[in-house]
Symmetry: C2
Subunit: 203 residues, 2 copies
């Protein structure tokens, strides 16, 4: 029985290797360079082994995207809990989001612009890492003093969606040169100041 166990472990390792290699290749040369042949070359197997792990090329992109959501969730949570005054959580999370998008453009592209087949905002079909990402936003815009009560503000879900849209817009438009990259900090400041003003009513 240890033989089949070893084979399953090898298969899992090779699975990871493919995803990792696809991600690296995409980050280095763009997603259009991630062809099945080139990817097979890099992992030192022939093309058909890719199809023994993934249904098609899109499934590989999807796997990379899912990894990305897990990474993003970790970074957003870290930024939130590390925010020195808890009220600064929104800014910290927003900055972490933009930094993530800028640091891993191809990964971000897989997560948010390429046609992967993932249910978003579905209570039972949306993968956990994806829900975790959104939850960080909801928590941080919902309860600005207290924490860990996801829906302290009934408008929190809506506001989180608006925040997400704005951040996504900033990230994508600057990435592909549709907006100058240098004003980004000022734009974020303006967005934060108006969407969640730190006014006298600190709730």
């Amino acid at each position: 029985m240890t033989a089949t166990q070893r084979r399953e472990r090898d298969r899992r390792q090779r699975h990871e290797l493919i995803v990792r290699t696809a991600r690296d290749l995409a980050e280095a040369e763009g997603w259009e360079a991630v062809t099945t042949r080139r990817l097979a070359d890099r992992v030192e197997y022939s093309q058909p082994v890719l199809y023994s792990h993934f249904e098609n090329r899109d499934a590989i992109v999807r796997a990379v995207a899912l990894d990305g959501f897990a990474d993003l969730a970790i970074e957003l949570r870290a930024a939130r809990v590390a925010a020195s005054p808890p009220g600064a959580g929104v800014r910290a999370v927003a900055r972490a989001y933009l930094d993530f998008a800028a640091a891993h453009p191809a990964l971000y592209e897989a997560m948010f612009t390429l046609p992967i087949d993932i249910r978003f905002a579905s209570p039972d079909q949306t993968p956990q890492p994806l829900r975790d990402c959104f939850a960080q936003l909801v928590v941080v815009v919902g309860s600005r003093a207290g924490e860990d009560e996801p829906f302290a503000d009934p408008e929190a879900g809506l506001l989180a969606e608006v925040y997400w849209s704005a951040l996504h817009g900033l990230a994508t438009l600057t990435r592909q040169g549709r907006m100058p990259a240098d004003g980004q900090a000022a734009r974020l400041d303006l967005l934060l100041a108006r969407l969640t003003p730190p006014g006298p009513d600190s709730r």
Copy 2:
């Protein structure tokens, strides 16, 4: 001389036909269905004639996108001047933007997500229709009572960029199912209320 004139006119008409057909085909079956063969079939010419009009496939997408910017500029301007209280211009333009994105998803994709090679935000290299689009936003967020003074508010440019990002995020995330489509009106209301509050200081 009338012979060459006629030929040039025919060439222009065929140019328009190609762009129009590419746009229709993309809107009907998505951009990945716009192959040079299928496009050539639809315009009832062979593939190489496409390349006598455009350098490559990307140039066709770019031409469609440029048409789209012209269309969008017209609709944004129309929405702005038709806004009954001039202060409602922001809402009118924002709604027109989202309506445009929802009504022509493939066109919007060409304009804002596909890799076309267009200089944005460059004073001398950015095509006019593109600048017109952005100008509508700047005017409407800058001077909320008076009009036609593009930079009444020095922050207008920045605020317009933030608006644009948020609208673009809303449009793209809802389009490819990354965000439920039904809350869109509520999200727009929230965005407008916070980004340009109609507060007592109506400037």
